[in-house]
Symmetry: C2
Subunit: 244 residues, 2 copies
């Protein structure tokens, strides 16, 4: 298989790092890979906050659903959709413009995620391990204050990056659903109850669909962190709701 | 340079295709690369709508800001954040759950973008050209109807893919801003007017910052398509606003 394709297939999240630092050259390559990603109108409407201060890493580990391993990562990058810089640019050119709306929030967050995934691919190519932390969307008020995030900037994803331990390299990649449940031809097709049960059959195993899904739902959806994220994202999006 | 890194650096958008079809094997690899991407909780909360019907491609070309080249692409994939399938799954397991909120919309859209970028990287590896179409977020009502998109699914990005013409291969990659304007250490730092002017100096060229930015703003932000997107995204997000 083509080495690039193979790399996409091999890549899995890494949450335990050896502690050996990521070199300045490697970090520069990761960031350059970020900037090479495509962006809407080539406007690069993103900002990357590179966390080098251990005290900030420590607090982010707490703010992002109490995950201590975050603070052990050598490289911690927060990918933000940035509609503030464009707004400031238009105003600097003397224009009076509308305020950014929800399309700016959503579009720039999607753009920032595209940029982040280029960094994930680059990290894998360099033999580095990475893990997304979606929890960066929680605790809006404190994250905004801690990182001086202005009104029209929204954190879309955080990546922690470091050298994987041997145990992490050996860990099997979590299984994916069969593609037929994820790809729809021409029109979205809602899955029937029977299809949903088939889809989860392998994952649920001996536990069975009902019990396995109930546990998943309690862990991922009806959990404290998920409810905090729901609250917090509303606050992140508030300024954009007043836009046009 | 490492071939994977080189590929990230080389990749540029392709909008003109030779017409030679993408093979079934190539398409299967593109979709498998999608499924190999990381997703929150490995839940794969995305749906890919694979447009094979020429009449739908033709209409999407119109709906996405009148870009006829969309209809000439052999492969057209729409990456949606999918909170509907999870909701249906929880209910099938007999649970009574909260309705998806804005965090589900934003989080799943970010997830779908990460999946889409894996496809972009895979396409480049296969010698195929790709282009993102952000305009898929416009014209919510008609797109929803055309593609049977349910309440808790939101299109995050569309990709068109085909074989690049020689002219497209030879086209220079559009220049990026210097990284120092995009990467912030530890805290977001708003750029001063002088820094913004420096940032755009090369792009603006002889035209000068004020005139160049004014034209950019009129083309990309105060334009009809951008205003339609702002309207449409509000409608896409409406069901999630009523969630918790």
């Amino acid at each position: 298989m083509d080495p690039i394709m193979q790399s996409l297939f091999d890549r899995k999240s890494v949450r335990v790092f050896t502690g050996e630092p990521v070199t300045a050259e490697e970090k520069a390559l990761l960031l350059e890979a970020a900037h090479q990603a495509p962006t809407g109108g080539n406007q690069q409407s993103y900002a990357i906050i590179d966390i080098t201060d251990q005290a900030i890493k420590d607090e982010l580990a707490e703010l992002c659903d109490h995950q201590p391993f975050i603070a052990t990562a050598d490289v911690v990058l927060i990918f933000c959709g940035d509609s503030q810089r464009n707004l400031d640019t238009y105003r600097e050119a003397g224009m009076e413009v509308r305020l950014p709306g929800l399309s700016s929030a959503l579009g720039s967050a999607v753009g920032a995620a595209i940029v982040a995934q280029n960094v994930v691919v680059a990290a894998e190519a360099l033999g580095l391990g990475s893990c997304y932390i979606g929890d960066i969307m929680e605790n809006c008020e404190r994250v905004r204050e801690l990182l001086d995030i202005p009104e029209y900037v929204i954190p879309a994803a955080m990546l922690v990056i470091g050298r994987p331990t041997q145990q992490q390299k050996d860990r099997p990649k979590p299984e994916r659903f069969e593609g037929k449940y994820l790809v729809h031809e021409n029109r979205y097709r809602r899955l029937s109850g029977e299809e949903l049960r088939d889809m989860y059959r392998k994952k649920a195993g001996a536990k069975g669909f009902d019990a396995w899904v109930k546990a998943l739902c309690e862990r991922k959806y009806e959990s404290d962190f998920a409810k905090e994220m729901a609250r917090s994202v509303k606050v992140w999006l508030k300024p954009f709701m007043d836009g046009e």
